[in-house]
C-alpha cells in the first residue's frame, strides 16, 4: 500500500478488532424498533413517514454489515435500491400529505379515521 492516507483502507478498519457482526445487528435492530415505536405512537403524518425512513436506515446498516461480514458486494448494491425506494416513497408520501393537509387543515392521522374499514 502506498503512503497515502485513506480513511477506508488505512485508518478505520485497523482498530476493527472486537466489533462483531452482532454489534451492528444490535444497533440496526434497535434503530428499527425505535422507528417502529415512533410509527405506532406519533400522530403527525409527517413524523410517521420520518419513522419509516428510520426503519429503512436500520435495514441499510444491517445490509452493509452483512456485506462486510461476507466480504460480498451485493449488500452494498442493495442499499442503492433501498435508497431508490426511500426516495420514491418520500416523493409520493409527501405529495399525498400536502394534499391531505390542504383538505382537512390538519396533519393528524386521526383526522382520517373514517377511512377505517
Amino acid at each position: 500500500m502506498s503512503g497515502s492516507w485513506t480513511i477506508a483502507q488505512a485508518s478505520l478498519p485497523a482498530p476493527m478488532d472486537g466489533v462483531t457482526l452482532a454489534h451492528y445487528l444490535l444497533v440496526s435492530a434497535a434503530m428499527f424498533t425505535i422507528g417502529l415505536v415512533g410509527f405506532l405512537t406519533r400522530r403527525n403524518l409527517i413524523i410517521m413517514f420520518l419513522c419509516t425512513e428510520l426503519m429503512f436506515q436500520a435495514a441499510g446498516i444491517a445490509l452493509i454489515a452483512f456485506s462486510r461480514f461476507h466480504l460480498h458486494m451485493t449488500g452494498q448494491t442493495f442499499v442503492i435500491f433501498v435508497l431508490t425506494v426511500a426516495a420514491a416513497e418520500a416523493a409520493l408520501a409527501l405529495a399525498l400529505v400536502v394534499l391531505l393537509y390542504r383538505r382537512k387543515d390538519s396533519l393528524s392521522a386521526e383526522a382520517w379515521a373514517e377511512m377505517k374499514g
Binding site: L54, M73, A91
Partner: protein
Amino acid sequence: MRCRDGALDAVINPYLLYVGLALGGLGVCMALPRRRVSPQALGAVLAGLGLGLALLGLGLKSERLPNYNFYIFSAIALGAALRVITHPRPVYAALYFILTILASCGLYLVLAAEFMAFALVIIYAGAILITYLFVIMLATQAPSEGELEALAEYDAEARSPVAATVASFVLLAALTTMLFGGAGDLRPRDGAGLDAPIEMMPQRAERSLREEGLIAAGDEVVGVDAAAWTATLRSGAEVRLPDSARLTNVERIGHDLLAEHPGSIEIAGVILLMAMLGATVLSRRQVELEDEAKRRQAERLAAAGTVFADREVSP
C-alpha cells in the same frame, strides 16, 4: 453459518441483553411526548443505559478491546433516532433525523463502505430530508396571536405509548435472540474474492501496470488471474500486479451493480419515474374545500392578518 441451540450464550449473556432491552423499552416509553409533565430526560438516560448494558454484554464476550469509532457513531445514531420520535416539533425531528443519517454514514465508513456513505449524505441528508423540511414548512399552521409557543394537539401527545413500546421491544428481544444465534466475527478485510472482478477488466490492470512502469510501451494485457494476482501480457510474459491494481470500493460496487443486477437497475428507474409522475399528478390536483373548511381558513387568515397589523402599530 448454522444457528444452533445455546448460540446466544456464546455472543452475549442473555440476562444482560433482556435487562438492557427492558430498560431501553421503559426509557423510550417515558421519553415519548405527553400532555402533562413528561420525564423525557430521565427516559433518555434510561434508554441509553439499556443500550449500554446490551453493548457491554456483547463486549464482555469478545476478548479484544472494541473499536471506539463504532460506539461513538452508534450512540449518536440511536440517540438522535430517539429524539426523532420524541421531539414534539416536526422541524426538529427532521433535523435530528439528518444527524442519525450522518452517524450512520460513520458506521458505513467503519464498515469500509465509503461509496454508500457519501451517497447516503448526498441523497438522504441532501435531497430527501430537504423535501421533508419543505413539506413541514408548507403544512404547518402559522401561529396566531397568543399561541406562538403552542403545539398542535396531535404533536403534543403520543398515542397509546405503553402498548406500542411493549409490543415493539418484545419484537426486538425476539429479533436479537434470533440474530445473535448466527452472528460471528467480522473477517479480515483483504479477502481475495473482492478482487475477482478484475479478471473481467484487463484494461484496468493495464492502467495500473502502466502507472507503475511495469509494462513496455507497445505491450498490452491479455489476461488477468486474480487468485495468483498476476497478469499475462501479449508478449507472453507474466507480471505480478501492483497493489494499486486492487479494486476500490466504487469499482467493486459498479461491477456488482452492472454485472450482477442489471435488471434491478431498470426496475429502480421505472420505480423512480412512476414516483415522479405520481407526485406530479397528485400535486396538480385542485382541492375542493367544503364550506366549513373554507370558513375556517378564512378565519385563520384574518387572525394572522390582525397579528401582523398589531405588530406594525406597536413594534
